[in-house]
């Protein structure tokens, strides 16, 4: 991308709240993969005469999301009807929030590679209900009609709208990762994209540095974080090429086609959007009193950014390792559990490195999930292993071998070490015996050392090492030999 051009991007992310029932009725939310239209009722299919009743659990999770993302929360917000006709919307309107959303003015710290984190502003978070699902084909066969499944209709979502603070496809990717991480940590959403629990639309325009924002284009059909990154990359290039030819960018919605790696204008029969929002007369204002907000704040766990900082400061981990280890709540909890056993300041960096390199490497190699590995290598046993390294009883190379063995068999590190001959010997009386025997065996080297050839000490260390069958700690041997031969 030409250096003179700057990307201006904002993301709208729809996230499914992890409730068990729908937003305005008691239908279950576990309809993914279930038989079509098995999780429906008169409310979520828009039958005449029904009234929506708000799910308290959804309010709580939305408040949690807003707190985790540093937003100001409105004590009283309003549900509004967003009117449009589409067969996935049984009432011909979606209950959403418009003029007075639940929360505004948040921010999210985004780690872009190893760089210090950048803050992306959040414009608003509001609660809304999901639409149903349309089917246009069965298998590979296109239908000449459409089929509708309302299992998803009425599932609670929050829409999280960022400010146009994102400047590159990589930042967009990092923003989404950070958002997913924080929402999962906070227990707000599972964010499973395969199940449609997290969906992204992107707004993008290009400008020359210092100029006002240009005309923005909306990109839809982004099914993965990678799709967002690739689509922004493509769309940025397309807009630059057009602008450099003196063309104007049309404000439009484009769809990302992952197969051809390009965006194309969305073909639509719809005129320009005119949603005719108005307050929903069936629903009272949504109340989020301070008592509820404070209760939710107390329930929030330590969030990734704070945890990352603590891992760096208290455990002495590097920025990149800390980033890896705070990648999921499960993993970060594991690290904390290990650190309770090891000495934070000295041994935990070693444990952190072991987890980041050996343990996660093993995971991806065997495509296992973390919970299975944690079951096999408990925090206690990884802590023990780390202490063996910290005490100098085993080398780092040996620790990796032992950890591999622990991952395979789930056995205790001490036990494995014993079987392998007990690791390094640290006992000075035992070491001194070997040192004296080695000195007796090596008169020439002893004479050399005494005449000033320091390097000859290596031969004596080697002899002592041989006597110990490789179990002596070479640093201590060296020290003892020097003491022994000192004039």
């Amino acid at each position: 991308m030409s250096a003179t051009w700057e990307m201006i991007c904002g993301l709208e992310v729809h996230v499914q709240l992890a409730t068990r029932s729908k937003l305005f009725c008691s239908c279950a939310t576990d309809g993914f993969g279930a038989s079509p239209n098995s999780r429906i009722c008169p409310v979520c299919t828009g039958q005449p005469g029904v009234l929506p009743v708000l799910n308290d659990g959804a309010t709580k999770l939305a408040v949690k999301a807003a707190l985790a993302l540093g937003c100001e929360i409105r004590e009283e917000s309003i549900f509004a009807r967003k009117n449009y006709f589409y067969p996935d919307l049984p009432k011909a309107y979606q209950i959403s929030q418009y003029e007075k959303p639940l929360a505004e003015n948040g921010s999210l710290a985004v780690a872009v590679k190893d760089a210090p984190s950048k803050t992306v502003g959040l414009q608003r978070i509001h609660i809304e209900e999901d639409a149903g699902k349309l089917l246009h084909a069965i298998g590979s066969e296109d239908l000449d009609y459409s089929l509708v499944d309302f299992n998803r209709a009425g599932i609670p979502l929050v829409e999280i709208v960022s400010k146009p603070d994102i400047r590159s496809p990589h930042e967009a990717y990092a923003y989404l990762q950070a958002l997913k991480e924080i929402l999962q940590f906070a227990g707000v959403s599972h964010c499973d994209m395969e199940k449609g629990e997290m969906r992204v639309d992107a707004n993008i325009s290009m400008r020359r540095a210092g100029e006002p924002f240009g005309t923005r284009v909306e990109i839809k059909n982004l099914n993965s974080f990678k799709a967002v990154r690739d689509a922004l990359d493509y769309e940025g290039r397309r807009q630059i090429a057009a602008l450099e030819k003196g063309e104007r960018i049309i404000q439009e919605t484009r769809l990302w086609d992952a197969d051809v790696q390009a965006t194309a204008p969305m073909r639509t029969k719809e005129e320009a959007h005119d949603y005719r929002y108005f307050p929903d007369p069936d629903l009272p204002p949504l109340h989020a009193p301070r008592s509820l907000v404070e209760a939710m704040r107390r329930e929030l766990p330590e969030l990734p950014e704070a945890r990352r900082r603590r891992f760096i400061e208290d455990y002495g981990l590097s920025v990149s390792i800390a980033n890896v280890l705070t990648g999921s709540r499960e993993l970060a909890d594991y690290v904390d559990a290990v650190a309770e056993i090891t000495n934070p300041a000295t041994a935990t960096p070693t444990a952190g490195n072991l987890i980041a390199t050996v343990l996660l490497g093993f995971l991806s190699e065997r495509s296992l999930d973390l919970s299975r590995v944690i079951g096999r290598v408990t925090p206690e046993s990884l802590g023990k292993l780390t202490l063996l390294i910290a005490d100098g009883r085993i080398s780092k190379t040996m620790s990796k071998e032992i950890l591999a063995e622990m991952l395979n068999s789930g056995r205790d590190p001490e036990e494995i070490l014993k079987e392998r001959g007990g690791g390094q010997v640290l006992d000075e009386a035992q070491l001194a015996q070997w040192v004296r025997a080695a000195i007796d065996q090596s008169p020439k080297a002893v004479a050399d050392v005494k005449s000033g050839k320091e390097r000859a000490i290596g031969a004596i260390v080697g002899a002592a090492m041989k006597l110990s069958q490789g179990k002596a700690n070479p640093t201590i041997l060296n020290k003892l030999i020097k003491e022994e031969l000192a004039p």
Binding site: R20, S26, R39, I40, P87, S146, R276, P281
Partner: protein, 96 residues
């Protein structure tokens, strides 16, 4: 007095998926104008001291616990549809 144009009536009809004849457009233009004129009269009132009302107060339903409960007759809802196929609602094709 006509505070709404025939073009606006036609646009609203289109958004509401209503097909109106010229006579109907004229009729609704008159009726909607009268409604809007009445609203305009209301707007002359001084409401400075009145908080905005998004919905008419009623006994607020106690919040619903997040507890799923299946509706016993889901298939009857599908059966109500003008067209259906298996467990699905069937509608006219919406994409090209």
């Amino acid at each position: 007095m006509s505070s709404i144009s025939p073009e606006e009536v036609a646009k609203i009809a289109k958004l509401a998926r209503l097909k109106l004849s010229q006579d109907e457009i004229a009729l609704y233009q008159r009726q909607m104008s009268r409604i809007l004129d009445s609203m305009a009269k209301l707007r002359q009132l001084d409401t400075q001291a009145v908080p905005p009302t998004a919905s008419v107060p009623w006994i607020e339903p106690s919040p619903r616990e997040d507890e799923p409960a299946a509706f016993s007759n889901a298939s009857a809802l599908v059966a109500l549809a003008p067209e259906r196929e298996g467990p699905y609602f069937k509608v006219r094709k919406v994409i090209e």
